[in-house]
Symmetry: C2
Subunit: 368 residues, 2 copies
């Protein structure tokens, strides 16, 4: 069993943000697997999605938590840490060790709360580039990520085309649809209207908008699963009862499951981080930077690409990936694309599908 | 222009509910169009969906509100009130005149609130049958409804097979999926956890859980529209601004639209009614009454059926209608089915699609 521990990179160089604001200094919490080669040419950066962290694989010594992509990353696994030096880094604005809204604002000595600046995928990628400098990595052999992680990969290929050889984008998109934004907006309303939110400065009130965050998470969870997958797993099964309660208590297993997921999440995630990261998602739109022309936005990219989507993913359906593939091909970029048959919806990218894992394994083997 | 007015039917006969509780007396508010024939053989009952009411067509004298299905019902319209006597009735438990949670409980002299009993589609249909007796209608020439309205039509055909000749079920289902229930559960959590909910007895507190109800409505609204329809209508368009605000204020048109819809709805609908009706939806499952066997559940039906679904409806997708059509056909019931191409999602049943309206027109003409 691989044990991992948090490492911290303290960055004193101010980060100029897309909003115009500046983050004077910040910490990035990270985790590494494998050994960096002498010429630093085997480094893989793993970008995480909304709820995840730098803890990508192995087990935390303290909490015994398994990394969120442990089925993918490790010795002999598709991203083989016997060959690659694999890095997970917690994004700023998140809540797993890197500087975020719950961190102490050095200017006030209190948690940032509502003073924490809004970020973008570009800002994240810029901070990750500073982090790569800190590690002495000029160029990643690959940057990989699913969902929001995939957006970071895409942004890397645009912002720093010379700093990655391979870009692997899974279950992701070049921009959110109106429906995607709509779900995010409802999640934010649930959090912001929670009576314990206090305009984002709940830390000093010794309270937490866990009801709103729980609702936000329940909602997101529906978009991670497929309609058929939910039917298969829960159907109309009742939760430990034989008949309806004729009340608003839990009757169906799906109600119990969602409430549990919401409740659990609301105790491990920061509500301000949730707000911030949904906005990062909304704002990502490289085509928007090029007058809506995705082909033009991708003109600068140099990496080789692997894109993967999943048939039952309705959050970022295969059409999102296909649009990106087309735009890359129009730029004569080398792209492989695979649409994996799966009934597990958006969550498929986290699961251990043999065909999917084999695809990643082969793509990485070819880098050696 | 047709002006309409509310009529009230006071029912003193106790209604035994599926839950075991009894509603001792209740009012049904209704509206009629056209003239009942001498032998009462031209009566059409229109069953309404979650948000709607008995106000099906024409204009309210007082409020100038147009009926929700005015494009379908009226002189010369697909359901032609020159030939048919068309009745809309507000369901009990709702909030547009019929007895519901906001009504005065005769036992206490105060609004029912949390004391209002939970209902089912069967209960509604039973109350509508008492109402039909009151009107002197032994048999409807047709009962029609979309979405939750369609569930009532189906239940009529099971509960009172001799009291309707034609059953028209549009954009509906024989039972909710786990995903459908999941959305309802989140809507209920938003309402119940609103600090102004007071366990359902907010009337006496002079407050109203409009924040929770607004969130519930925003969420439901997403399920009424199709992904493509939302992209077509809103895309990533910004709301009266040229750049992101870098805040949680409204940036995108879709955010503005949803907030407006939620806000508007929260001022015209009762939160307890919303809770109750989502539970009515969850509980509907005629197959469940027959050990999960839909074919068996439909053994008693005698009506001729028309079922209609819409291609982009992902709330109750065409597969729901097809399952019902198959089960009806296995019982040798006469069924017509049409899947209408539409990009407007679940809402399509309310819109004026020429092919859809023509289908209804022809089906009704054949009854004459």
């Amino acid at each position: 069993m691989i044990y991992t521990e948090d490492k911290i990179c303290q960055i004193k160089k101010p980060l100029k943000l897309k909003s115009g604001e500046v983050l004077e200094s910040y910490n990035l919490t990270y985790e590494t697997h494998g050994v960096l080669s002498k010429n630093s040419n085997n480094a893989v950066l793993v970008c995480h999605a909304l709820n995840a962290s730098h803890h990508i694989a192995g087990i935390r010594k303290t909490t015994k938590d398994l990394g969120w992509w442990d089925n993918m990353i490790g010795p002999g696994k598709p991203i083989d840490t016997d060959s690659f030096f694999v890095i997970g880094v917690n994004n700023i604005g998140s809540c797993f060790g890197s500087t975020g809204p719950a961190s102490i604002n050095p200017k006030t000595g209190k948690p940032y709360g509502s003073d924490f600046p809004l970020l973008t995928v570009e800002d994240w990628v810029n901070s990750q580039a500073v982090f790569a400098d800190f590690l002495g990595i000029k160029k990643f052999v690959a940057i990989i990520g699913g969902s929001l992680g995939g957006m970071q990969v895409l942004q890397w290929s645009i912002s720093f085309p010379d700093r990655l050889e391979n870009a692997i984008i899974i279950a992701s998109t070049a921009r959110l649809t109106a429906q995607n934004i709509a779900f995010n907006e409802i999640a934010r309303r649930a959090i912001i209207t929670d009576k314990s939110f206090h305009g984002g400065d709940y830390y000093s009130e010794n309270t937490f908008p866990n009801i709103g965050l729980s609702i936000a998470r329940m909602l997101a969870h529906i978009t991670y699963l497929s309609q058929d997958g939910m039917t298969e797993k829960f159907g109309r099964n009742l939760q430990e009862k034989k008949d309806y309660s004729f009340s608003y208590e839990i009757d169906f297993q799906i109600e119990s499951y969602l409430r549990y997921q919401g409740e659990k999440f609301s105790h491990k995630f920061d509500a301000n981080s949730y707000l911030l990261i949904t906005r990062v998602l909304d704002y990502f739109d490289p085509a928007g930077e090029a007058n809506g022309d995705l082909v033009k936005a991708l003109k600068v990219v140099k990496a080789k690409f692997l894109l993967i989507s999943f048939t039952s993913d309705w959050r970022f359906s295969p059409s999102h990936s296909k649009e990106l593939v087309s735009a890359l091909l129009e730029n004569n970029v080398q792209v492989s694309y695979s649409e994996i048959k799966s009934e597990y919806g958006h969550d498929s990218f986290l699961l251990e599908d043999p065909g999917y894992h084999e695809l990643i394994r082969v793509f990485f083997s070819n880098m050696l």
